[in-house]
């Protein structure tokens, strides 16, 4: 329970159906870092050298308060589990490392697969809970053979399957998305009907641990030694200007380049080793091919021959027709399921294919799988 309307209604609907519901909120990051507390120290290599430790808070943040009040309203117990160290290790340090490497990460996906449906699911099992329910807009369907399929939420404008592509059969078997079949207006109507005080609470927009949305400043605070200035160059390698660090850029970005050119220029590529940001015209942003790694295939045998799919390359991207082919990644020696790589070719060029983002493969509204763009 994040304190938002979706997870609040998810809990309330389950309780109303007569399930024995346990409310849990995850404390993931300190709301008020102590001045003497060590931060997350990330060295120049981008490796975290000190884990987050001992940032004490006493459940004062507003969202935990909201979750607690909702739990009281619907009459279920509510607990706060502290996952600060795991969140720092799995999510925040990865987020910083990716930005410093010139990639654009999606912490929400890692939080889902490495925390919510991993650590928290384990905890739920220990408390004899049969399922872990969240407020995600996504649907799980079990077929005749007992396999689980992940489908887009009924409210396609709120669909969150893009952030859930890495769930496995085992995780899906234990997951429940009670608002996945509803649209947001219905969810708010339920909240109102159930007299939850969060009915009118706005949707969260930003990455939770960077509430001001300034990712670059967060990266600089967290890994001051890992960022360095560099140059802005064009496709031919001519230097057009300078920049304060590759972590400040993402593919397709136009703002913040500080260039005075007649035609608008966009970030085409980021070269972290040379600290270079390559820019060019909007037309040159289009690409048809990508490769992805750590590919998860949700259900059935993964296609090693070309397969037609719709592929989505960021949260707000309309999935586009493409073909994909998967292969086992044996580069690292032992192959860990589901560590596969994928080759993908779009039928038409797509703007701003961004390393670090996920590519998720769909067949109509079913999520077939996905991976991380190289």
């Amino acid at each position: 329970m994040s304190g938002g309307v979706d997870s609040s209604v998810a809990a309330a609907l389950l309780a109303e159906e007569g399930h024995d519901v346990i409310g849990v909120s995850m404390q993931l990051y300190p709301s008020t870092p102590r001045d003497e507390a060590p931060g997350l120290v990330v060295g120049r290599s981008g490796q975290a050298t000190t884990a987050v430790e001992k940032w004490g808070t006493c459940c004062t943040i507003d969202d935990l308060y909201d979750a607690r009040r909702v739990a009281a309203t619907i009459g279920i117990p509510h607990y706060i589990v502290n996952f600060e160290s795991q969140f720092g290790e799995h999510v925040i340090s990865h987020f910083v490392r990716e930005y410093v490497s010139g990639r654009t990460p999606i912490p929400c996906s890692h939080c889902n697969s490495d925390l919510k449906f991993a650590e928290l699911l384990d905890r739920a099992k220990a408390y004899d809970a049969e399922q872990l329910a969240t407020g995600h807009y996504a649907r799980i369907v079990r077929d005749d053979q007992g396999r689980y399929h992940l489908r887009r939420g009924a409210d396609t404008s709120k669909d969150q399957t893009y952030f859930l592509f890495s769930l496995t059969q085992e995780q899906l078997a234990r997951a429940a998305f009670p608002v996945g079949h509803l649209d947001k207006d219905r969810v708010r109507a339920h909240a109102k009907r159930l007299k939850l005080h969060v009915t009118e609470k706005p949707d969260s927009q930003e990455i939770c641990f960077v509430p001001d949305g300034d990712y670059a400043a967060f990266v600089e605070r967290t890994a001051p030694d890992a960022t360095r200035p560099g140059t802005v160059v064009n496709a031919e390698g001519h230097v057009l200007g300078t920049h304060g660090g590759v972590h400040r850029f993402t593919i397709g970005q136009r703002k913040g380049l500080a260039l005075s050119t007649t035609e608008p220029l966009y970030v085409l590529e980021i070269k972290p080793d040379a600290a270079q940001v390559v820019v060019g015209s909007r037309e040159s942003l289009g690409r048809t091919r990508l490769t992805a790694s750590q590919v998860n295939w949700i259900c059935g045998g993964a296609p090693t021959d070309w397969l037609r799919v719709s592929a989505q390359i960021r949260h707000r991207h309309a999935a586009a027709p493409a073909r994909i082919r998967l292969k086992a990644d044996t580069a690292g020696g032992v192959r860990l399921q589901p560590d596969w790589t994928a080759e993908l070719e779009f039928d038409a060029p797509q703007t701003a294919i961004t390393p670090g983002q996920a590519v998720v493969f769909y067949d109509a509204d079913e999520v077939l799988g996905g991976g991380w763009i190289d």
Partner: protein
């Protein structure tokens, strides 16, 4: 049926105290400072309660200052004595590492304002060694404050000996007796202290009511200023119903303490022995004796206390880890840390504290519920997390 084993956090209100409070809420609404009938009625209720509190402490009613709880009593004792003695040049305070935050953070606040504060080390017994105080004390010490019984592990401190050491060097001695009042027979003269704090809700009285006993002749500067209530040491119109509850609870506690002590100790000892023998990797924290009869603190290795508390609560058993305000954090207990226990041992520590309603059946319930919960949580390897 839920089993409540967290009486060191708070206790349920005694039904007799509740009735007395309800009656006072309705009928005794006068201002105790007023001259007229209504004021006299309120004053009489306060006087009666004060006498009961004095009896609980073997003290004189005129030496009892009402406060809004144990924390306020500790603040009044420490701030009041420190400021009263400031002109004498005694700007040094001594306390122990296992005190409640009410004492430790008050000392820290004074340290920021120029007082020198010495925190006495404590070993794994959880008992302050008087030699540590002998080494630390000097003629510049204004006040020594060491708790009577520790809230987390229950150990009882050698107050009489510590107070005598303080007095030899002209320092005042305060003890936070919040966790011993109602659990041990108290006699302020035998303890030899100058000030002693109690809180009603730890012995079946209401929250928000407490008292500081101050030996006659000890000077304190009030830190809540205003009217002349409580001999000008604690201003503000008295919360008569709450203090009536304090008095009623004090009278009941005084009448029961000698019977309840051995009964609770037997329950506690059976639980402690049962856990230590049935679950591997468990240890009692702190010395077995002297302890208040109702408390045991046990570390369970390879498990975080947070997950144990949730598992036990879902099984209908209410316990806590360290102090109650630490939920949502994985801050190790400052008490166990001060005692020198390693981080891993402090993370998995839980406190069971017995009280009036507990029976042998409650001990059976815990001994039945706890082992499978520990086993399940250990199989998760949450401590140290996956790499």
């Amino acid at each position: 049926m839920r089993v409540y084993l967290d009486h060191n956090a708070t206790t349920p209100l005694d039904p007799i105290a509740a009735d007395r409070m309800a009656q006072a809420l309705r009928d005794v609404w006068g201002n105790a400072s007023s001259v007229h009938h209504f004021g006299q009625q309120a004053k009489a209720a306060l006087d009666e309660a004060r006498a009961a509190v004095a009896t609980l402490l073997s003290a004189d009613p005129s030496e009892i200052i009402y406060t809004g709880g144990g924390t306020e009593a500790d603040n009044l004792a420490i701030r009041g004595a420190a400021e009263a003695l400031e002109p004498s040049g005694r700007k040094h305070l001594i306390t122990s590492g296992i005190e409640h935050e009410a004492v430790l953070n008050t000392m820290r606040a004074l340290a920021k304002r120029g007082w020198r504060v010495t925190i006495l080390p404590v070993d794994t017994s959880g008992i302050v060694n008087p030699d540590r105080l002998r080494e630390a004390i000097a003629d510049d010490v204004a006040l020594v404050s060491v708790m009577h019984a520790n809230n987390e592990i229950g150990t009882v401190q050698p107050i009489a000996e510590l107070a005598a050491i303080a007095h030899e060097r002209g320092a005042l001695f305060h003890t936070d007796a919040v966790q011993s009042a109602g659990k041990l027979s108290l006699d302020v003269r035998a303890l030899g202290v100058d000030m002693l704090s109690i809180a009603a809700h730890k012995f079946y009285g209401p929250k928000g009511a407490g008292a500081l006993w101050v030996k006659r002749g000890v000077r304190l500067l009030p830190f809540i200023t205003g009217g002349r209530q409580e001999r000008s040491r604690r201003a503000g119109t008295e919360n008569v119903p709450a203090l009536v509850g304090l008095g009623a609870a004090a009278a009941i506690a005084h009448s029961k303490v000698s019977i309840e002590g051995p009964r609770l100790a037997a329950l506690r000892d059976r639980l402690e022995a049962g856990i230590l023998s049935s679950i591997s990797g468990t240890d009692r924290n702190g010395a077995a004796s002297p302890r208040v009869p109702n408390t045991t603190n046990i570390s369970v290795d390879r498990v975080e206390a947070e997950s144990l508390l949730i598992g036990l609560d879902l099984a209908g058993i209410a316990v806590s880890s360290g102090s109650a305000c630490s939920s949502g954090t994985l801050e190790p207990s400052h008490v166990l840390k001060a005692m020198g226990y390693p981080h891993g041992r402090t993370l998995g520590s839980i406190r069971f504290s017995f009280g009036a309603a507990n029976t042998d059946a409650d001990v059976d319930r815990v001994l039945e519920a706890l082992p499978p919960i520990v086993e399940k949580l250990r199989s998760l390897t949450t401590v140290g997390a996956k790499k």
